[in-house]
């Protein structure tokens, strides 16, 4: 009987966190972003969430469709692309995107950035633009200001 009760209680405790989640306060940083490539354009919102040893980020287009998910390790300074939208999910694009986002993230978060010769960084008001000089790809980030209150539950 005790085992049965324990089983039921553990079932509930597994299910409840997802329901109780709505009370969690989030420290995510939000930016509007645009990536201009010679043959295309992608824009939307970048949301980052920091912990002691990593920075996780999701780039979603304005409609809410996920474009890129990544995780950056503070320990070894590496960025791993967790998921990339299908039409960008090619090995050479992933490699370039991973390197570029790693550099952009370091600039955005005030971390030491290497390979500065490969990129041009400029600021305009509160926007930051990073240009990959070799590939002619421009990444722009602007902190988002909300129109009312908190946007997370």
């Amino acid at each position: 009987m005790r085992a049965f009760l324990l089983f039921l209680l553990s079932s509930i405790s597994v299910l409840l966190p997802s329901i109780a989640y709505s009370g969690i306060q989030c420290d995510a940083d939000r930016f509007s972003f645009s990536i201009s490539m010679p043959k295309g354009y992608l824009s939307g919102v970048l949301i980052t969430n920091e912990s002691d040893d990593s920075i996780n980020g999701s780039m979603i287009n304005e409609f809410g469709i996920s474009a890129v998910d990544f995780t950056y390790s503070r320990r070894n300074g590496k960025l791993r692309l967790v998921s990339v939208i299908s039409f960008l999910d090619k090995w050479h694009i992933r490699r370039m995107l991973g390197n570029d986002l790693r550099f952009c993230l370091r600039i955005l978060k005030g971390l030491p950035a290497d390979r500065k010769g490969k990129y041009q960084v400029s600021t305009n008001d509160n926007s930051i633009t990073v240009v990959n000089l070799r590939r002619k790809i421009s990444y722009s980030f602007t902190p988002l200001e909300t129109t009312s209150g908190n946007d997370t539950e």
């Binding site: 009760l5 509007s32 919102v45 996920s66 129109t147 209150g149 908190n150």
Partner: protein, 212 residues
Amino acid sequence: MKRLIMILLTTTICLVAVNAAPLSERQQKEIAAKINKTASGLKSMSCTFSQTKHLSLLSDKLLSEGKMCYRQPDRLRWEYKTPYRYLFIFNGTKVYVGNDQRKDVIDTGSNRIFKEVARIMMNTVTGKALSDISEFTVSVSDGNAVWIVTLIPKKKELRKMFAKITLSFSKSDLMISEINIFEKNNDRTEIRLKNIKKNITLNESLFTIPAK
């Protein structure tokens, strides 16, 4: 003790039982036909919406609210008012995307995401996606007050982006009330439509692509 077990069992069952009741193939076809009929009679609509993007990697949610207007055959105005101002206008092959900082006009022919999203948004908010058997495998289930239509993409390009899309239609007037988009990376976008007004006069200026 028995009572405690009953309470715990009931709680567990309530928490777990979220699946909608399945229907026979004939029933599914009948309901889909009815929804299609309603959709084909829909000349225009306007509503407010709330959108919740569930981000699996960040264990976070992004809540947005706004207003939507649709007019046959290919006009859609999708306006986010909170927490960020964004305006989308789909007008034929052109999409306008604007916020306080940036305004762009995109040709859907050159932007694949927008092309797919524009088509899916228009076809789902109106219910037309049900008749597009070349695009989706359609199934219908009974969700008490609503019919739940599940669309599983058939085309490779869509399958890479979306695992499935579910649409909830009110049983009383067969109008759409909720859209859930399940992405391949386990993110989910939930859109709830409220204050729906059907077949109303909508000024063309609502769908005019603004000058940059």
